[in-house]
Symmetry: D4
Subunit: 168 residues, 8 copies
């Protein structure tokens, strides 16, 4: 049976950042669960969730948090599944605090860190698919199509701009 992906976030305000992530996963036919849990407010839930993630059928966990973003690291501490971290740009420091809190993990407890904010959220979906694609040819195929669409999209935008410029 195919792995599921868990998308967890520290606060409901992070949903604005993570919605695109969930939409992409669904578009690619990847089963995913979404849950709000907080390393600092519901640490017991985070620990329990992470410990049972493998036996609950998850293959990858995506965790988004801002500020002193400890969520991804807390999950990585209690599982050997790959954990993807999305630093959210909340607060006055624009996410540089969340980036450093997510990426600078000690040896043995990696968090696969994405860029700050919504672009990182979409990349989290993409990386999760790449990981699952190693054992699921259907997902791998979706990614190849997606990559071709990216090429086509850049080429289309290029054509529009060049036509506009030559028409001036």
């Amino acid at each position: 049976m195919a792995y599921k992906v868990a998308v967890v976030m520290g606060s409901d305000s992070d949903w604005l950042t993570m919605e695109q992530c969930v939409l992409l996963l669904r578009e690619w036919g990847i089963d995913c669960d979404v849950e709000i849990m907080s390393a600092h407010r519901t640490p017991g839930r985070v620990h329990e969730f992470a410990r049972q993630a493998a036996e609950n059928g998850y293959g990858v966990i995506i965790a988004a948090a801002g500020l002193a973003a400890a969520l991804a690291g807390s999950i990585a501490a209690a599982t050997t599944l790959p954990v993807i971290g999305v630093p959210v740009a909340s607060g006055p420091l624009q996410g540089i605090d969340a980036l450093l809190s997510t990426v600078q993990m000690p040896p043995g407890v990696p968090v696969a860190t994405m860029g700050i904010g919504p672009m990182g959220a979409r990349n989290a979906a993409c990386l999760a698919a790449q990981i699952l694609g190693l054992s699921d040819p259907r997902v791998a195929e979706k990614l190849r199509v997606y990559k071709k669409e990216q090429v086509a999209s850049v080429e289309a935008k290029n054509k529009v701009l060049r036509e506009r410029l030559s028409g001036e």
Copy 2:
């Protein structure tokens, strides 16, 4: 009975930073326990320690960690005792990662953050003593003496420098 202080750190390499903290606490007659535990490697121990800290007689917890320093925050998540965080300057970013990971806590879960490195470690002892001094007049008296010694020390250094300069 007087409260104890717990001094915990994420790695034995943090002892270099924290030794002065423990020496100061002992000098002031404050009972303290030292323990290595890691938010990312022994999260279960951290959680259990924090949950039982109050009933085990601790009044203040001092936590030191470097990099994506989650130790102080993980403890603060599971206790309502005051938690003091010391960012350790390990790694290429010189502790700015540890500072932001320690201080930028979400509402409801404060970490009393000190400066980076050994000076922060000494201040952690001092703040712990200030907190305990509110209910322990002996500790409060030690701090008043310590503060006077600081004044005297600055004045003595001033005298030495001025004599050297006037003697040139």
Copy 3:
């Protein structure tokens, strides 16, 4: 008699940041006084206030300031009470100047530094309550309730989001 908390700030524009701090303290039944005083404009008042804070019944002092934020440090220089610093995000550097000016204190003069801006202000109230809770069981009890409400709030938000997603 229970300790009072002083909430001081460098400018009346800091009130926007600190209002939540005062509301929380009052909600928990902690007596607090609010005062505007400036390390750079009314240094004499700051010094006098800090020197007399203990005998005036204060147990904790919360100080908020922006830019080259010297207020918390100036107070810490003249008292052995615990001082909590809130860096305010005023000016073009978004509070990173205030954070470093507040946290990087020399040994012997700690400032318990909170995160930048309103979230730091709320945490200052919380830390003050944690400190007072060591000798005031009523306050300690309020904090335990508050922590449970945080858990409940995260779980409620989680439920709302999951229902919305499953209903799509």
Copy 4:
């Protein structure tokens, strides 16, 4: 047949950073190839390598580079395999340039970014193993053992420190 891991780096001076990564992969019985290639000096080789990586049996690619670190991103541009990036701390900016150049990828082209320097290199091995462990139970088992050893190592260090302190 099991996937191989490719460990590529921009310069032979990066070997100091990456040696631990390769040792860990071998320790866990993961077949890996090491190659020096540069996004800026041998871009053709990088592109060709990335395009053929999947059919050449690789499941994960680890790329390490310093400064304007483009290697991981260049590879991610030409494959749908998961790519792990290790920012190397070369040059006066201590790797913050390499971190931002590695992590801030546009949507659709993720790089799973690790912390700066040798600790990031070890975590790259660990994440690669976590990814491969999803389809290779032997690797998954190695990781579970490794995680237990981490716990034991922290506990052992704790015991040593506490004995030393109690013996003083």
Copy 5:
């Protein structure tokens, strides 16, 4: 025959930043082509474009990109023409990521880096003209006129301000 200038950008959203660059080049009678291509989405096109740029009549290539801005470097990797990089201020870090990703190139692969955003875009046009002006006296003359206009413009603004102030 005179060299052409290529103005390439990673995304159509960069056109807002680069429009002034193209207008200046045209104003100075410099033939220029505009194209959208992405180091991370259409790397093959970037590589092919750069390899053939010299024989296609280009003398200078201007490349604009944001985030982990690899476009200018990717082009510089595959040509010995001078390449000018414009860091675009997209995303939460305001272009400091793009600046470091553009400027910190390894030895042998220079990118002539401009300031962040629209002012950098205008300077890219100016530097391209300065380079072409070495072998094209008409362009050199345009630049001398432009420089005189800058002086006149500052002097005119000065006159307006001084008159306003003296008239108050």
Copy 6:
């Protein structure tokens, strides 16, 4: 009678940074007093010193401090004499903390901030002389000579380098 200059510093370790400042002042015949005083350890002395500085014959005060450098600002708070601040590069952040703590003063309380470390210390002497030179022609003349010597020194170094290169 000519004004004196006061050179104050927060710690005797700052003398390494400030010695050149005092040597320059003496070389130019400017009477100066040196004193160690600390905004955080001897705040009463700082306040008293600053309040009486004008009547004690000082025309300019130079203050050097590291970390959360509050010394220059504390003095500026209690005098209307010009105060020059020298950020000292102590601690892991290399003086960027001291720079921001010194320069970001609120309106009405300026600190004339110099560069970080020994070069800032020498410039502090130079600025003090420039200020005193407005009312003391002897000092103004010394500065004109010093400026000529700077020109001569650059020209001499240029000659040495060019001879070495042409002789190769």
Copy 7:
């Protein structure tokens, strides 16, 4: 005869930042001239202005510029009058570029650097008055009054806030 103050700025858009500076100087009866000149666009004018500033009756020069702010340093290079620099917060980096470009001057060429933006502009007026006040008792008296008004203003704001809070 009393010294005049020159207020120069790199662009007319800097007037928004500097207007308060000029208003304060006039309020204190200090004669000042305002001029737009640019280190990068009208360098000849800057050099000539600085060389003749002393004989033209200026005692202090205030220079405001943004980005790679070279104006204050260029003036300081050609005069021995005290030069005050105001970093303007233009462009995406919010003035941190202008701050470093203004303050990090080589030995022998000081720029008395103020905080970023309008608060720095007001402090530039204040520092200029402090410098001129050393030889002009009328200006010194104005500053003493201004300082008292600051105290009164803080106390008045304090009273308003306290009444509002006690009336709630």
Copy 8:
């Protein structure tokens, strides 16, 4: 006749950084002059040099400076030749001050900025050659050879490493 390149630097201590630049230019048969001149100490010389650079036969000017690095910008202000800036990593901020002071130029006055330190110095030589190569086929040919050597060097290092690893 072929253009010459000028390599200027603000201090003789910058020679350590720039020596490789000059060696590369000579290796490629490009005539170059080296001169120490300082935007802040010998501004007249800088201005005069820049104004006459074109008629003195220079085609490109390379300027290296540290701290508030104004040299490249000062030269760019007075010529329409292309100016290449090399930020030198002197002082506690490791060249980030020099980078921002060099790159953030206002519109109309570009400085082609290289990376910080010796790698930037070598790239300055390379960019100068690329610019001159547009009108000098001999230089263009040297660069093509140099680029091939880079490829060969990476491949050779790759071979050495792989042999070492396979021989273990």
